[in-house]
Symmetry: C2
DNA sequence: ACATTTCGCTGACTTTAGTCAGTTGTTCGA
DNA sequence: TCGAACAACTGACTAAAGTCAGCGAAATGT
Protein backbone atom coordinates (compact mmCIF):
# COMPACT_ATOMS: atom_id res chain seq x y z
CA UNK A 1 0.00 0.00 0.00
CA UNK A 2 1.42 3.38 -0.93
CA UNK A 3 1.47 6.29 1.46
CA UNK A 4 -1.25 7.93 -0.57
CA UNK A 5 -3.45 4.88 -0.19
CA UNK A 6 -2.66 4.71 3.49
CA UNK A 7 -3.62 8.29 4.07
CA UNK A 8 -6.79 7.67 2.11
CA UNK A 9 -7.59 4.90 4.57
CA UNK A 10 -6.97 7.28 7.43
CA UNK A 11 -9.28 9.81 5.89
CA UNK A 12 -11.97 7.33 5.10
CA UNK A 13 -11.84 6.03 8.63
CA UNK A 14 -11.85 9.51 10.04
CA UNK A 15 -14.93 10.32 8.09
CA UNK A 16 -17.04 7.41 9.18
CA UNK A 17 -15.68 7.67 12.67
CA UNK A 18 -16.37 11.31 13.35
CA UNK A 19 -19.81 11.01 11.84
CA UNK A 20 -20.75 8.12 14.06
CA UNK A 21 -18.89 8.21 17.32
CA UNK A 22 -16.38 10.98 17.16
CA UNK A 23 -18.79 12.78 19.30
CA UNK A 24 -18.63 10.45 22.26
CA UNK A 25 -18.54 13.71 24.12
CA UNK A 26 -21.76 14.98 22.68
CA UNK A 27 -23.19 12.93 25.46
CA UNK A 28 -22.04 15.80 27.65
CA UNK A 29 -24.74 17.93 26.16
CA UNK A 30 -27.93 18.62 28.00
CA UNK A 31 -26.40 18.40 31.42
CA UNK A 32 -27.33 21.89 32.39
CA UNK A 33 -24.12 23.48 31.18
CA UNK A 34 -22.63 24.06 27.76
CA UNK A 35 -20.54 21.34 26.19
CA UNK A 36 -17.25 23.16 26.64
CA UNK A 37 -17.80 23.65 30.32
CA UNK A 38 -18.69 20.03 30.84
CA UNK A 39 -15.70 18.89 28.87
CA UNK A 40 -13.56 21.00 31.14
CA UNK A 41 -15.15 19.45 34.21
CA UNK A 42 -14.45 16.04 32.76
CA UNK A 43 -10.85 16.94 32.10
CA UNK A 44 -10.35 18.24 35.63
CA UNK A 45 -11.82 15.10 37.06
CA UNK A 46 -9.55 12.94 34.92
CA UNK A 47 -6.47 14.74 36.19
CA UNK A 48 -6.66 17.62 38.65
CA UNK A 49 -3.73 20.01 38.77
CA UNK A 50 -2.85 23.60 38.21
CA UNK A 51 -4.80 25.88 35.94
CA UNK A 52 -1.67 26.18 33.89
CA UNK A 53 -1.29 22.47 33.29
CA UNK A 54 -4.93 22.29 32.37
CA UNK A 55 -4.51 25.04 29.83
CA UNK A 56 -1.54 23.30 28.29
CA UNK A 57 -3.50 20.08 28.09
CA UNK A 58 -6.59 21.37 26.42
CA UNK A 59 -5.31 24.51 24.80
CA UNK A 60 -7.77 27.19 25.77
CA UNK A 61 -7.26 30.91 25.96
CA UNK A 62 -6.30 31.86 29.48
CA UNK A 63 -9.10 34.37 29.84
CA UNK A 64 -11.65 31.98 28.47
CA UNK A 65 -10.54 29.18 30.74
CA UNK A 66 -10.68 31.49 33.71
CA UNK A 67 -14.25 32.32 32.92
CA UNK A 68 -15.27 28.69 32.48
CA UNK A 69 -13.66 27.86 35.80
CA UNK A 70 -15.65 30.64 37.39
CA UNK A 71 -18.87 29.10 36.11
CA UNK A 72 -17.92 25.72 37.50
CA UNK A 73 -16.93 27.30 40.78
CA UNK A 74 -20.22 29.19 41.01
CA UNK A 75 -22.04 25.91 40.49
CA UNK A 76 -20.02 24.44 43.33
CA UNK A 77 -18.43 21.82 41.10
CA UNK A 78 -14.76 22.74 41.39
CA UNK A 79 -12.59 24.29 44.08
CA UNK A 80 -9.64 26.56 43.35
CA UNK A 81 -6.85 26.92 45.89
CA UNK A 82 -3.53 28.73 45.60
CA UNK A 83 -0.64 26.40 44.88
CA UNK A 84 1.56 26.40 48.03
CA UNK A 85 4.70 26.04 45.90
CA UNK A 86 4.06 29.10 43.80
CA UNK A 87 1.26 31.30 44.95
CA UNK A 88 0.71 32.83 41.55
CA UNK A 89 -0.59 29.47 40.44
CA UNK A 90 -3.90 27.95 41.42
CA UNK A 91 -4.76 24.31 41.86
CA UNK A 92 -8.10 23.06 40.59
CA UNK A 93 -9.97 20.06 41.86
CA UNK A 94 -13.47 18.73 41.97
CA UNK A 95 -15.70 19.22 44.97
CA UNK A 96 -17.91 16.45 46.22
CA UNK A 97 -20.77 17.42 43.97
CA UNK A 98 -18.28 17.96 41.17
CA UNK A 99 -17.23 14.36 41.51
CA UNK A 100 -20.83 13.29 41.38
CA UNK A 101 -21.35 15.19 38.16
CA UNK A 102 -18.12 13.78 36.81
CA UNK A 103 -19.28 10.25 37.50
CA UNK A 104 -22.39 11.04 35.54
CA UNK A 105 -20.28 12.17 32.59
CA UNK A 106 -18.27 8.99 32.83
CA UNK A 107 -21.42 6.94 32.82
CA UNK A 108 -22.80 8.71 29.79
CA UNK A 109 -19.59 8.37 27.89
CA UNK A 110 -19.48 4.72 28.75
CA UNK A 111 -23.00 4.18 27.64
CA UNK A 112 -22.23 5.75 24.29
CA UNK A 113 -19.24 3.54 23.74
CA UNK A 114 -21.28 0.53 24.73
CA UNK A 115 -24.08 1.47 22.38
CA UNK A 116 -21.58 1.52 19.55
CA UNK A 117 -20.25 -1.92 20.32
CA UNK A 118 -23.53 -3.51 21.32
CA UNK A 119 -25.16 -4.23 17.96
CA UNK A 120 -22.18 -6.27 16.81
CA UNK A 121 -21.92 -9.99 17.32
CA UNK A 122 -19.46 -11.14 19.96
CA UNK A 123 -16.90 -12.03 17.32
CA UNK A 124 -17.15 -8.70 15.58
CA UNK A 125 -16.94 -6.85 18.86
CA UNK A 126 -13.76 -8.65 19.62
CA UNK A 127 -12.38 -7.76 16.20
CA UNK A 128 -13.33 -4.13 16.60
CA UNK A 129 -11.72 -3.89 20.02
CA UNK A 130 -8.58 -5.49 18.70
CA UNK A 131 -8.41 -3.21 15.69
CA UNK A 132 -8.97 -0.11 17.78
CA UNK A 133 -6.39 -1.15 20.35
CA UNK A 134 -3.89 -1.70 17.55
CA UNK A 135 -4.75 1.61 15.93
CA UNK A 136 -4.51 3.33 19.30
CA UNK A 137 -1.01 2.04 19.89
CA UNK A 138 0.14 3.02 16.43
CA UNK A 139 -1.49 6.42 16.47
CA UNK A 140 0.18 7.14 19.76
CA UNK A 141 3.47 5.87 18.43
CA UNK A 142 3.13 8.02 15.34
CA UNK A 143 2.64 11.14 17.42
CA UNK A 144 5.47 10.55 19.85
CA UNK A 145 7.95 13.38 19.72
CA UNK A 146 11.65 12.62 19.99
CA UNK A 147 13.51 15.43 21.71
CA UNK A 148 17.15 16.02 22.42
CA UNK A 149 17.60 16.74 26.10
CA UNK A 150 20.32 17.15 28.69
CA UNK A 151 21.02 13.68 30.15
CA UNK A 152 20.64 15.21 33.60
CA UNK A 153 17.19 16.66 32.89
CA UNK A 154 14.25 15.18 34.75
CA UNK A 155 12.77 13.38 31.73
CA UNK A 156 16.13 11.80 30.88
CA UNK A 157 16.77 10.62 34.44
CA UNK A 158 13.28 9.13 34.63
CA UNK A 159 13.80 7.26 31.38
CA UNK A 160 17.24 5.98 32.31
CA UNK A 161 15.90 4.91 35.69
CA UNK A 162 13.38 2.69 33.96
CA UNK A 163 16.05 1.41 31.59
CA UNK A 164 18.24 0.33 34.48
CA UNK A 165 15.32 -1.21 36.34
CA UNK A 166 14.39 -3.26 33.32
CA UNK A 167 17.87 -4.59 32.69
CA UNK A 168 18.12 -5.45 36.35
CA UNK A 169 14.94 -7.46 36.00
CA UNK A 170 15.99 -9.21 32.81
CA UNK A 171 19.64 -10.01 33.36
CA UNK A 172 20.05 -13.28 35.27
CA UNK A 173 22.66 -11.72 37.52
CA UNK A 174 20.92 -8.34 37.72
CA UNK A 175 22.28 -5.05 36.51
CA UNK A 176 24.07 -2.62 38.77
CA UNK A 177 25.98 -0.01 36.85
CA UNK A 178 28.03 2.15 39.15
CA UNK A 179 26.30 5.38 40.06
CA UNK A 180 25.92 7.39 36.88
CA UNK A 181 28.96 9.64 37.08
CA UNK A 182 28.88 13.22 35.80
CA UNK A 183 31.41 12.01 33.24
CA UNK A 184 28.78 9.65 31.84
CA UNK A 185 26.41 12.54 31.43
CA UNK A 186 28.94 14.74 29.72
CA UNK A 187 29.84 11.98 27.26
CA UNK A 188 26.20 11.99 26.19
CA UNK A 189 26.07 15.77 25.83
CA UNK A 190 27.40 18.10 23.15
CA UNK A 191 29.84 18.45 21.64
CA UNK A 192 30.80 14.76 21.67
CA UNK A 193 27.42 13.18 22.24
CA UNK A 194 23.69 13.60 22.66
CA UNK A 195 20.78 12.13 24.52
CA UNK A 196 17.20 11.91 23.31
CA UNK A 197 13.94 11.10 25.00
CA UNK A 198 10.65 10.20 23.34
CA UNK A 199 7.68 11.62 25.17
CA UNK A 200 3.99 10.86 24.88
CA UNK A 201 1.41 12.61 27.02
CA UNK A 202 4.22 13.97 29.13
CA UNK A 203 5.51 10.47 29.96
CA UNK A 204 8.92 9.29 28.77
CA UNK A 205 8.33 6.24 26.60
CA UNK A 206 11.75 5.66 25.10
CA UNK A 207 15.28 7.03 25.26
CA UNK A 208 18.78 6.59 23.95
CA UNK A 209 22.12 8.31 23.71
CA UNK A 210 25.10 8.57 21.42
CA UNK A 211 28.71 9.15 22.48
CA UNK A 212 31.97 9.39 20.62
CA UNK A 213 34.30 6.42 21.06
CA UNK A 214 36.87 7.34 18.43
CA UNK A 215 37.35 9.63 15.47
CA UNK A 216 34.42 8.94 13.15
CA UNK A 217 32.95 6.27 15.41
CA UNK A 218 29.87 6.75 17.55
CA UNK A 219 28.31 4.40 20.06
CA UNK A 220 24.66 4.07 20.94
CA UNK A 221 24.07 3.76 24.68
CA UNK A 222 21.13 3.30 27.01
CA UNK A 223 18.55 2.64 24.43
CA UNK A 224 15.25 1.75 25.99
CA UNK A 225 11.59 1.45 24.96
CA UNK A 226 8.70 1.31 27.42
CA UNK A 227 7.13 -2.16 27.72
CA UNK A 228 3.68 -0.95 26.76
CA UNK A 229 5.10 0.46 23.55
CA UNK A 230 6.88 -2.56 22.20
CA UNK A 231 5.70 -3.62 18.81
CA UNK A 232 4.81 -0.16 17.63
CA UNK A 233 7.99 0.38 15.71
CA UNK A 234 9.14 2.93 18.22
CA UNK A 235 12.43 1.09 18.69
CA UNK A 236 13.28 1.16 14.99
CA UNK A 237 12.33 4.78 14.76
CA UNK A 238 14.45 5.69 17.72
CA UNK A 239 17.35 3.69 16.35
CA UNK A 240 17.17 5.50 13.03
CA UNK A 241 16.97 8.77 14.87
CA UNK A 242 20.07 7.96 16.89
CA UNK A 243 21.91 6.94 13.75
CA UNK A 244 21.06 10.37 12.39
CA UNK A 245 22.36 11.98 15.56
CA UNK A 246 25.58 10.01 15.28
CA UNK A 247 25.94 11.07 11.66
CA UNK A 248 25.35 14.69 12.64
CA UNK A 249 28.13 14.36 15.17
CA UNK A 250 30.38 13.57 12.23
CA UNK A 251 30.61 9.80 12.59
CA UNK A 252 30.60 7.33 9.74
CA UNK A 253 30.21 4.26 11.90
CA UNK A 254 27.88 3.46 14.79
CA UNK A 255 28.50 0.68 17.26
CA UNK A 256 26.56 -0.74 20.11
CA UNK A 257 26.80 -3.54 22.60
CA UNK A 258 23.98 -5.56 24.07
CA UNK A 259 23.23 -8.69 26.01
CA UNK A 260 22.13 -11.98 24.52
CA UNK A 261 19.04 -11.98 26.78
CA UNK A 262 17.63 -9.02 24.87
CA UNK A 263 16.51 -11.04 21.89
CA UNK A 264 13.98 -8.58 20.47
CA UNK A 265 16.59 -5.84 20.53
CA UNK A 266 19.08 -8.04 18.71
CA UNK A 267 16.48 -8.95 16.10
CA UNK A 268 15.78 -5.28 15.60
CA UNK A 269 19.45 -4.40 15.14
CA UNK A 270 19.80 -7.10 12.54
CA UNK A 271 16.69 -5.94 10.74
CA UNK A 272 18.10 -2.43 10.73
CA UNK A 273 21.24 -3.58 8.95
CA UNK A 274 23.69 -3.96 11.84
CA UNK A 275 26.26 -6.71 11.58
CA UNK A 276 27.99 -8.55 14.38
CA UNK A 277 31.55 -7.55 15.24
CA UNK A 278 34.14 -8.63 17.79
CA UNK A 279 33.95 -7.43 21.37
CA UNK A 280 35.24 -3.85 21.39
CA UNK A 281 35.03 -2.99 25.08
CA UNK A 282 35.16 -4.66 28.47
CA UNK A 283 31.56 -4.02 29.50
CA UNK A 284 30.82 -7.07 31.68
CA UNK A 285 27.11 -6.93 30.89
CA UNK A 286 27.65 -7.03 27.13
CA UNK A 287 27.80 -10.29 25.19
CA UNK A 288 26.97 -9.22 21.65
CA UNK A 289 28.45 -6.40 19.60
CA UNK A 290 27.18 -4.69 16.48
CA UNK A 291 28.23 -2.10 13.98
CA UNK A 292 26.68 -0.26 11.06
CA UNK A 293 28.29 2.03 8.54
CA UNK A 294 26.33 5.12 7.61
CA UNK A 295 24.45 4.72 4.38
CA UNK A 296 24.85 0.96 4.41
CA UNK B 1 -12.91 -9.42 26.55
CA UNK B 2 -16.07 -8.24 28.29
CA UNK B 3 -18.30 -5.53 26.86
CA UNK B 4 -17.06 -3.19 29.57
CA UNK B 5 -13.48 -3.79 28.52
CA UNK B 6 -14.40 -3.38 24.90
CA UNK B 7 -16.07 -0.06 25.50
CA UNK B 8 -13.05 1.01 27.52
CA UNK B 9 -10.94 0.28 24.46
CA UNK B 10 -13.28 2.37 22.35
CA UNK B 11 -13.04 5.22 24.80
CA UNK B 12 -9.30 5.02 25.12
CA UNK B 13 -8.93 5.00 21.40
CA UNK B 14 -11.35 7.86 21.05
CA UNK B 15 -9.37 9.91 23.47
CA UNK B 16 -6.00 9.50 21.88
CA UNK B 17 -7.51 9.81 18.46
CA UNK B 18 -9.48 13.00 18.92
CA UNK B 19 -6.59 14.62 20.72
CA UNK B 20 -4.17 13.86 17.95
CA UNK B 21 -5.97 13.72 14.67
CA UNK B 22 -9.65 13.76 15.26
CA UNK B 23 -9.66 17.19 13.85
CA UNK B 24 -8.45 16.35 10.38
CA UNK B 25 -10.93 19.01 9.45
CA UNK B 26 -9.34 21.67 11.57
CA UNK B 27 -7.15 22.02 8.55
CA UNK B 28 -10.15 23.77 7.07
CA UNK B 29 -9.58 26.63 9.45
CA UNK B 30 -7.87 29.79 8.38
CA UNK B 31 -9.08 29.60 4.83
CA UNK B 32 -10.92 32.86 4.98
CA UNK B 33 -14.24 31.40 6.01
CA UNK B 34 -15.50 29.77 9.18
CA UNK B 35 -15.00 26.07 9.66
CA UNK B 36 -18.66 25.20 9.21
CA UNK B 37 -18.86 26.99 5.90
CA UNK B 38 -15.74 25.30 4.63
CA UNK B 39 -16.98 21.93 5.75
CA UNK B 40 -20.13 22.57 3.78
CA UNK B 41 -18.12 23.49 0.71
CA UNK B 42 -16.16 20.30 1.12
CA UNK B 43 -19.33 18.29 1.40
CA UNK B 44 -20.83 19.85 -1.70
CA UNK B 45 -17.68 19.14 -3.64
CA UNK B 46 -17.67 15.52 -2.49
CA UNK B 47 -21.19 15.01 -3.73
CA UNK B 48 -23.20 17.78 -5.32
CA UNK B 49 -26.97 17.42 -5.33
CA UNK B 50 -30.08 19.05 -4.03
CA UNK B 51 -30.11 21.24 -0.98
CA UNK B 52 -32.43 18.72 0.56
CA UNK B 53 -30.07 15.81 0.15
CA UNK B 54 -27.31 17.90 1.56
CA UNK B 55 -29.34 18.73 4.62
CA UNK B 56 -30.15 15.10 5.20
CA UNK B 57 -26.50 14.22 4.89
CA UNK B 58 -25.08 16.71 7.28
CA UNK B 59 -28.06 17.47 9.43
CA UNK B 60 -28.25 21.23 9.54
CA UNK B 61 -31.23 23.44 10.20
CA UNK B 62 -32.81 24.39 6.92
CA UNK B 63 -32.59 28.11 7.64
CA UNK B 64 -29.01 27.87 8.74
CA UNK B 65 -27.98 25.88 5.71
CA UNK B 66 -29.69 28.38 3.48
CA UNK B 67 -27.67 31.16 5.00
CA UNK B 68 -24.38 29.31 4.67
CA UNK B 69 -25.17 28.60 1.05
CA UNK B 70 -25.80 32.28 0.52
CA UNK B 71 -22.33 33.06 1.86
CA UNK B 72 -20.73 30.54 -0.44
CA UNK B 73 -22.77 31.88 -3.33
CA UNK B 74 -21.74 35.46 -2.54
CA UNK B 75 -18.12 34.35 -2.58
CA UNK B 76 -18.71 32.81 -5.97
CA UNK B 77 -17.91 29.31 -4.76
CA UNK B 78 -21.19 27.54 -5.39
CA UNK B 79 -23.98 27.86 -7.91
CA UNK B 80 -27.61 27.15 -7.12
CA UNK B 81 -30.02 26.20 -9.87
CA UNK B 82 -33.63 25.05 -9.66
CA UNK B 83 -34.00 21.30 -10.02
CA UNK B 84 -35.74 20.72 -13.38
CA UNK B 85 -37.59 17.70 -11.97
CA UNK B 86 -39.16 19.57 -9.11
CA UNK B 87 -38.82 23.27 -9.19
CA UNK B 88 -39.29 23.64 -5.47
CA UNK B 89 -35.92 22.02 -5.03
CA UNK B 90 -32.58 23.59 -5.84
CA UNK B 91 -29.46 21.87 -7.02
CA UNK B 92 -26.10 22.96 -5.61
CA UNK B 93 -22.76 22.59 -7.28
CA UNK B 94 -19.35 24.14 -7.17
CA UNK B 95 -18.29 26.85 -9.54
CA UNK B 96 -14.85 26.84 -11.09
CA UNK B 97 -13.31 28.80 -8.23
CA UNK B 98 -15.29 26.66 -5.82
CA UNK B 99 -13.58 23.60 -7.23
CA UNK B 100 -10.23 25.28 -6.81
CA UNK B 101 -10.98 25.97 -3.18
CA UNK B 102 -12.21 22.44 -2.77
CA UNK B 103 -9.00 21.05 -4.17
CA UNK B 104 -7.16 23.09 -1.61
CA UNK B 105 -9.25 21.57 1.18
CA UNK B 106 -8.54 18.13 -0.18
CA UNK B 107 -4.84 18.84 -0.24
CA UNK B 108 -4.83 20.08 3.32
CA UNK B 109 -6.78 17.15 4.58
CA UNK B 110 -4.48 14.81 2.75
CA UNK B 111 -1.43 16.46 4.14
CA UNK B 112 -2.77 16.02 7.64
CA UNK B 113 -3.44 12.36 7.15
CA UNK B 114 -0.04 11.89 5.61
CA UNK B 115 1.66 13.68 8.48
CA UNK B 116 0.08 11.22 10.85
CA UNK B 117 1.25 8.18 8.95
CA UNK B 118 4.64 9.52 7.92
CA UNK B 119 6.70 9.06 11.09
CA UNK B 120 5.91 5.36 11.22
CA UNK B 121 8.05 2.70 9.62
CA UNK B 122 6.68 1.08 6.49
CA UNK B 123 5.61 -1.99 8.46
CA UNK B 124 3.81 0.00 11.10
CA UNK B 125 2.12 2.14 8.51
CA UNK B 126 0.81 -0.97 6.90
CA UNK B 127 -0.46 -2.23 10.24
CA UNK B 128 -2.13 1.07 11.03
CA UNK B 129 -3.86 1.20 7.68
CA UNK B 130 -5.06 -2.36 8.11
CA UNK B 131 -6.34 -1.73 11.62
CA UNK B 132 -8.14 1.43 10.61
CA UNK B 133 -9.71 -0.22 7.58
CA UNK B 134 -10.94 -3.04 9.80
CA UNK B 135 -12.23 -0.62 12.41
CA UNK B 136 -13.90 1.40 9.69
CA UNK B 137 -15.78 -1.59 8.37
CA UNK B 138 -16.91 -2.65 11.81
CA UNK B 139 -17.87 0.81 12.96
CA UNK B 140 -19.97 1.20 9.86
CA UNK B 141 -21.49 -2.20 10.39
CA UNK B 142 -22.27 -1.38 14.00
CA UNK B 143 -24.13 1.74 13.03
CA UNK B 144 -26.19 0.26 10.25
CA UNK B 145 -29.87 0.63 10.97
CA UNK B 146 -32.23 -2.18 10.06
CA UNK B 147 -35.64 -0.87 9.09
CA UNK B 148 -38.87 -2.54 8.18
CA UNK B 149 -40.10 -1.20 4.86
CA UNK B 150 -42.71 -1.86 2.24
CA UNK B 151 -41.21 -4.30 -0.28
CA UNK B 152 -42.31 -1.93 -3.01
CA UNK B 153 -40.51 1.08 -1.52
CA UNK B 154 -37.54 2.48 -3.40
CA UNK B 155 -34.92 1.24 -0.92
CA UNK B 156 -36.36 -2.28 -1.00
CA UNK B 157 -36.49 -2.42 -4.79
CA UNK B 158 -32.91 -1.19 -5.03
CA UNK B 159 -31.74 -3.84 -2.60
CA UNK B 160 -33.65 -6.64 -4.27
CA UNK B 161 -32.32 -5.50 -7.61
CA UNK B 162 -28.79 -5.99 -6.38
CA UNK B 163 -29.74 -9.32 -4.85
CA UNK B 164 -31.04 -10.58 -8.17
CA UNK B 165 -28.04 -9.23 -10.06
CA UNK B 166 -25.66 -10.98 -7.72
CA UNK B 167 -27.41 -14.34 -7.94
CA UNK B 168 -27.47 -13.99 -11.69
CA UNK B 169 -23.72 -13.48 -11.60
CA UNK B 170 -23.05 -16.35 -9.25
CA UNK B 171 -25.36 -19.07 -10.45
CA UNK B 172 -23.79 -21.02 -13.31
CA UNK B 173 -27.06 -20.91 -15.25
CA UNK B 174 -27.90 -17.37 -14.18
CA UNK B 175 -30.91 -16.29 -12.19
CA UNK B 176 -34.08 -15.00 -13.79
CA UNK B 177 -36.98 -14.99 -11.40
CA UNK B 178 -40.20 -14.07 -13.14
CA UNK B 179 -41.09 -10.44 -12.76
CA UNK B 180 -41.71 -9.77 -9.10
CA UNK B 181 -45.47 -10.09 -8.97
CA UNK B 182 -47.55 -7.93 -6.66
CA UNK B 183 -48.39 -11.20 -4.92
CA UNK B 184 -44.71 -11.59 -4.02
CA UNK B 185 -44.71 -8.18 -2.46
CA UNK B 186 -47.86 -8.77 -0.46
CA UNK B 187 -46.49 -12.05 0.92
CA UNK B 188 -43.61 -10.05 2.37
CA UNK B 189 -45.88 -7.40 3.88
CA UNK B 190 -48.06 -7.43 6.96
CA UNK B 191 -49.98 -9.20 8.20
CA UNK B 192 -48.35 -12.41 6.98
CA UNK B 193 -44.83 -11.19 6.31
CA UNK B 194 -42.32 -8.37 6.45
CA UNK B 195 -39.37 -6.97 4.57
CA UNK B 196 -36.37 -5.21 6.07
CA UNK B 197 -33.57 -3.16 4.59
CA UNK B 198 -30.30 -2.23 6.26
CA UNK B 199 -29.16 1.23 5.30
CA UNK B 200 -25.83 2.98 5.74
CA UNK B 201 -25.22 6.49 4.51
CA UNK B 202 -28.47 6.30 2.60
CA UNK B 203 -27.31 3.24 0.63
CA UNK B 204 -29.02 -0.13 1.03
CA UNK B 205 -26.37 -2.56 2.23
CA UNK B 206 -28.44 -5.59 3.09
CA UNK B 207 -32.00 -6.82 2.96
CA UNK B 208 -34.23 -9.77 3.67
CA UNK B 209 -37.86 -10.76 4.04
CA UNK B 210 -40.01 -13.20 5.94
CA UNK B 211 -43.25 -14.77 4.71
CA UNK B 212 -45.66 -17.26 6.16
CA UNK B 213 -45.59 -20.71 4.56
CA UNK B 214 -47.81 -22.51 7.04
CA UNK B 215 -49.33 -22.13 10.46
CA UNK B 216 -46.38 -21.43 12.79
CA UNK B 217 -43.80 -21.69 10.00
CA UNK B 218 -42.01 -18.70 8.50
CA UNK B 219 -39.63 -18.60 5.58
CA UNK B 220 -36.74 -16.22 5.06
CA UNK B 221 -36.53 -14.91 1.52
CA UNK B 222 -34.26 -12.64 -0.50
CA UNK B 223 -31.59 -12.26 2.04
CA UNK B 224 -28.70 -10.31 0.65
CA UNK B 225 -25.60 -8.49 1.96
CA UNK B 226 -23.59 -5.99 -0.08
CA UNK B 227 -20.21 -7.36 -1.24
CA UNK B 228 -18.26 -4.57 0.45
CA UNK B 229 -19.87 -5.49 3.74
CA UNK B 230 -19.10 -9.17 3.88
CA UNK B 231 -17.15 -10.18 6.90
CA UNK B 232 -18.55 -7.54 9.17
CA UNK B 233 -21.11 -9.77 10.80
CA UNK B 234 -23.89 -7.95 9.05
CA UNK B 235 -25.27 -11.20 7.67
CA UNK B 236 -25.56 -12.81 11.10
CA UNK B 237 -27.12 -9.72 12.52
CA UNK B 238 -29.65 -9.53 9.76
CA UNK B 239 -30.41 -13.23 10.10
CA UNK B 240 -31.05 -12.85 13.82
CA UNK B 241 -33.21 -9.85 13.11
CA UNK B 242 -35.29 -11.79 10.59
CA UNK B 243 -35.68 -14.65 13.04
CA UNK B 244 -37.06 -12.09 15.47
CA UNK B 245 -39.44 -10.81 12.84
CA UNK B 246 -40.61 -14.37 12.13
CA UNK B 247 -41.14 -14.96 15.82
CA UNK B 248 -43.11 -11.73 16.09
CA UNK B 249 -45.32 -12.98 13.27
CA UNK B 250 -46.19 -15.87 15.54
CA UNK B 251 -43.99 -18.57 14.01
CA UNK B 252 -42.06 -21.17 15.96
CA UNK B 253 -40.04 -22.42 13.01
CA UNK B 254 -38.09 -20.60 10.30
CA UNK B 255 -37.07 -22.20 7.06
CA UNK B 256 -35.03 -21.08 4.13
CA UNK B 257 -33.69 -22.44 0.91
CA UNK B 258 -30.43 -21.60 -0.79
CA UNK B 259 -28.08 -22.70 -3.51
CA UNK B 260 -24.95 -24.78 -3.00
CA UNK B 261 -22.87 -22.12 -4.77
CA UNK B 262 -23.48 -19.72 -1.88
CA UNK B 263 -21.00 -21.35 0.43
CA UNK B 264 -20.48 -18.43 2.84
CA UNK B 265 -24.22 -18.15 3.32
CA UNK B 266 -24.50 -21.85 4.07
CA UNK B 267 -21.64 -21.64 6.56
CA UNK B 268 -23.41 -18.75 8.23
CA UNK B 269 -26.70 -20.63 8.51
CA UNK B 270 -24.94 -23.56 10.09
CA UNK B 271 -23.11 -21.30 12.52
CA UNK B 272 -26.42 -19.73 13.45
CA UNK B 273 -27.88 -23.10 14.43
CA UNK B 274 -29.80 -24.04 11.31
CA UNK B 275 -30.00 -27.70 10.39
CA UNK B 276 -30.44 -29.23 6.98
CA UNK B 277 -33.87 -30.54 6.06
CA UNK B 278 -35.46 -32.17 3.04
CA UNK B 279 -36.48 -30.11 0.05
CA UNK B 280 -39.73 -28.42 1.01
CA UNK B 281 -40.57 -26.57 -2.22
CA UNK B 282 -40.01 -26.77 -5.95
CA UNK B 283 -37.80 -23.70 -6.31
CA UNK B 284 -35.56 -24.69 -9.23
CA UNK B 285 -32.73 -22.47 -8.01
CA UNK B 286 -32.61 -24.03 -4.56
CA UNK B 287 -30.42 -27.01 -3.76
CA UNK B 288 -30.06 -26.82 0.03
CA UNK B 289 -32.78 -26.42 2.65
CA UNK B 290 -32.54 -25.38 6.29
CA UNK B 291 -34.69 -24.98 9.34
CA UNK B 292 -34.38 -23.59 12.83
CA UNK B 293 -36.78 -23.78 15.73
CA UNK B 294 -37.18 -20.64 17.77
CA UNK B 295 -35.12 -20.72 20.93
CA UNK B 296 -33.03 -23.63 19.68
C1' DA C 1 15.88 46.51 45.37
C1' DC C 2 14.17 46.89 41.13
C1' DA C 3 12.90 45.86 36.52
C1' DT C 4 10.99 41.88 34.26
C1' DT C 5 8.35 37.97 33.76
C1' DT C 6 4.74 34.84 34.95
C1' DC C 7 0.12 33.54 36.44
C1' DG C 8 -4.46 33.98 36.72
C1' DC C 9 -8.06 37.18 36.23
C1' DT C 10 -11.53 40.84 34.35
C1' DG C 11 -14.02 43.62 31.01
C1' DA C 12 -15.26 44.57 26.50
C1' DC C 13 -15.65 42.75 22.40
C1' DT C 14 -16.49 39.63 17.92
C1' DT C 15 -17.50 35.60 15.52
C1' DT C 16 -19.68 31.32 14.92
C1' DA C 17 -23.36 28.33 15.43
C1' DG C 18 -27.75 27.52 15.87
C1' DT C 19 -33.02 28.10 16.68
C1' DC C 20 -37.63 29.40 15.42
C1' DA C 21 -41.60 31.43 13.30
C1' DG C 22 -43.29 32.78 9.28
C1' DT C 23 -43.12 33.71 3.93
C1' DT C 24 -43.05 32.44 -1.02
C1' DG C 25 -43.32 29.56 -4.80
C1' DT C 26 -44.23 24.77 -6.31
C1' DT C 27 -46.18 20.19 -6.43
C1' DC C 28 -49.44 16.68 -5.32
C1' DG C 29 -53.64 14.34 -4.18
C1' DA C 30 -58.56 14.29 -3.63
C1' DT D 1 -59.05 23.07 -9.00
C1' DC D 2 -58.27 23.86 -4.50
C1' DG D 3 -56.21 22.93 -0.17
C1' DA D 4 -52.51 20.55 2.01
C1' DA D 5 -47.80 19.55 2.00
C1' DC D 6 -43.29 20.68 0.84
C1' DA D 7 -38.80 22.98 -0.38
C1' DA D 8 -36.10 26.75 0.24
C1' DC D 9 -35.72 31.11 2.05
C1' DT D 10 -35.77 35.48 5.30
C1' DG D 11 -35.68 37.97 9.58
C1' DA D 12 -35.07 38.22 14.30
C1' DC D 13 -33.21 36.24 17.78
C1' DT D 14 -29.93 33.58 21.39
C1' DA D 15 -26.19 31.00 23.23
C1' DA D 16 -21.71 29.46 22.97
C1' DA D 17 -17.05 30.05 21.85
C1' DG D 18 -13.32 32.62 21.52
C1' DT D 19 -10.16 36.94 21.24
C1' DC D 20 -7.58 40.68 23.12
C1' DA D 21 -5.74 44.29 26.00
C1' DG D 22 -4.67 45.20 30.30
C1' DC D 23 -4.45 44.59 35.61
C1' DG D 24 -2.62 43.09 40.19
C1' DA D 25 -0.13 39.81 42.86
C1' DA D 26 3.70 36.84 43.16
C1' DA D 27 8.14 35.18 41.69
C1' DT D 28 12.70 35.72 39.47
C1' DG D 29 17.05 37.36 37.71
C1' DT D 30 20.59 40.72 38.19
Amino acid sequence: MSIAEQSAVVRRFNRSYTQRIGALEDSFLGMGAPLGTMRLLFEIGAEPGTVQALRARIGLDSGYLSRLLRHLEADGLVALTPDPEDRRRRRVELTVSGRERWAELEARSDERARALVEPLTARQRERLARALAEADLLVRAATVTIETVDPLAAAARAAVGRYVAELDRRFPAGFAPGDPSPADASELSPPGGAFVVAVSDGEPVACGGVRTVAEGVGEIKRMWVHDGWRGAGLGSRLLRHLEGVSHDLGHRVVRLDTNETLTEAIAMYERAGYRRIERYNDNPYATDFFEKTHGA
